[in-house]
Amino acid sequence: MGILAVAVTALVALAMPAAAGAHAERATFFPDPNLGSFPEYRSDGPSTVVCKHPQTRGLIQELPSELRRYNEALLTRCRYQSIQTAINQRGKTGQRILVMPGEYFEHRYRTPPPGCEAAYQNTGALSYEQHLQCPNAQNLIAILGDTNGDRICDVHCNLQIEGTGDTPDDVKITGAKSKLNVIRADRADGIYLKNFQVQYSDFNNIYFLETNGFRVDTVVSKYSREYGILSFTSDHGIYENCEASFSGDSGVYPGSGPNARHGQPDAHGHVYGIIIRNCESHHNTIGMSGTAGNGTWAHDNRFHHNATGVTTDSFAGGHPGMPQDNSKWSHNLIYSNNNNLFDDERDAYCRDTPWEERDPEKVCPTFQVPVGTGHLIAGGNANIVEENYIWDNWRRGTMLFWVPAALRGEEDSAKTYDTSANNQYLRNCMSTRPIDIDNVDFSVCEGPPDLNGVDFWWDEEEGQDCVEEQPGCVDTDSQFGNCWSINFGFDGQAYSSDPPPLILPPCPGLDFFRPGNSAKQAMLVPCATWHPVDNPDPPGCDWFTTPPEPQ
């Protein structure tokens, strides 16, 4: 059965609306992986200039001379003070929207036009057609590319929205905590966002949905109530050179990743449909997460000072592409993720302070995570964690555990153990701080010790491979089991692990079903009952206590 059809079938079976991140969203569908491509930056071609009078004129005087002259020339062409208006009136396919230094609030789109009053009050899932009718009901800036309902972009395609300042913070796009999304790119194939800062969304600062081809480059995301940069049921997407911080959930979230390839190259030779590279994600609840985060390759990033550095999982319902599989993390720095956002003081602050009045740097966590964890795979298959430096995560460097299929709403009991299988941990440097964090040689494991609580933690479950004929089967691999090979601890010594290193299977692993250690699995369960107001400290769950620094 084609994977797209599987996703569609799964969606049709759902009684609940789909979810992006973890909020209500219309049922969505994966783009055709054989169409679309990764967008390329364009420095010429038709363009429209947006500026902020009188702010821009003053700000460009502070730019380096050559850039100042470029911006002074642009200023003579400026006809728009609103990015949305420029898109609406001049945003033909292939247009470049050049946004000059200034802070953009898009005031005229904050109040409903006639006929959209109800939609502006609705924070639930709107249909695509409702978004077309009232584009700014939930979105400060909406780029809606499909006008004929075939889910393929036919207007506002290949848009490039680019700040013309020296650094991203010269151009700020501000949600003012009121709109769910600051920028929504929905079926907006080929979109390229570059060189600005986006902040203060009520849910997602940047949101790519059902978009085949997107790129977000040199963008700073801050102070989102939930997610910084989020993509969902999209393909051919690149997050690069980004910084994402102070999000209540995740800095970057490639959720419901492309579900067609399963580790095999597509017609264009792309094994991974979503790429995250050269990004820094810090001081969020999670640096990077993705329920059903399939087909994603994160490399050369830094995930640090979050509560948990990285997660991918299969434990929420309503996400197309379950169970999660075939993503890769390589050459990342995953460190110091001990930022406890769950202590009594933060619980009280978040409980007593309305979102609108909160200090933007006091993050209130949306979901619960194990504080002090570097990288976590919860119910994933055939992932690769390779040649990363992972240190100073006081609970665990990495975690891998099974998620019963029923927890994602799967009713076929034959699939109960269809995660976690065939994940590989290779050549990672554990509990070692690189000598020069800005110039890391990933081919060696060198540097002073900086210990994780335990380098590798596994619940000892090996999921069942399924037979290809089984609907929804994605794990037919018969070569690999979960396995750990050529990983190092400090100074070439053995890494630490639970179970002990001698019990961790070396690659290719032992690819036969094992239900795992029930006591380890049981200790995860009470954490599911966490609630920030009613149950902030559930008995039996130690996730919310900062582990002591390992010595």
């Binding site: 555990f401 099974w402 998620v403 006591a519 599911a528 039996g540």
Partner: protein, 164 residues
């Protein structure tokens, strides 16, 4: 029945009633759920005052039973309520929605997925996880009240608690 015999009978009835009330008989309450097997109790290594009990319960009531995890209570051997939490989920998971931002009511299917409720048909079983905090760190919990009935925490689990 003569007066002395009636008095003895009344005393016996009273004694049995007192024993049952004190929890010394079979499961107290209306005994609608029964442990399928002796549940497991775990002491988390980093939370020595806490206990996690996992076990399968069978509905022996003859009718379908809907149990709300938020109404599960744990009591100690002196009848005092302990801080506790319960779920019917088989593993860790989280909601589709952030806990403070979701819809006011969720359909039962979603509540069941989340382990917040269990609807157990007569003769069927469900896995239940109950965790609680022992203020002094030593095991005192004896009873789990689930609303329509209660379950005794088998004393034999005390000797089999797994230090993990």
């Amino acid at each position: 029945m003569d007066a002395p015999r009636a008095a003895v009978a009344a005393l016996l009835v009273l004694a049995v009633a007192l024993l049952v009330a004190a929890g010394c008989g079979e499961d107290s309450g209306s005994a609608q759920l029964e442990w399928l097997d002796t549940p497991t109790v775990i002491v988390p290594p980093t939370l020595r005052t806490d206990r996690i009990l996992r076990g399968d319960v069978r509905n022996d009531s003859g009718d379908a039973l809907r149990v709300d995890a938020s109404e599960v209570r744990v009591y100690d051997n002196r009848g005092r309520r302990l801080k506790a939490t319960a779920t019917f989920a088989a593993g860790y998971l989280h909601s589709l929605y952030p806990p403070t931002r979701g819809p006011a009511t969720l359909p039962d299917s979603e509540l069941e997925r989340l382990g917040k409720i269990a609807t157990i048909e007569s003769g069927q079983t469900a896995q239940m996880t109950v965790s609680w905090r022992e203020p002094a760190g030593r095991r005192t919990a004896t009873r789990i009240d689930y609303g329509p009935g209660s379950l005794r925490i088998p004393p034999e689990t005390r000797g089999r608690e797994r230090d993990f």
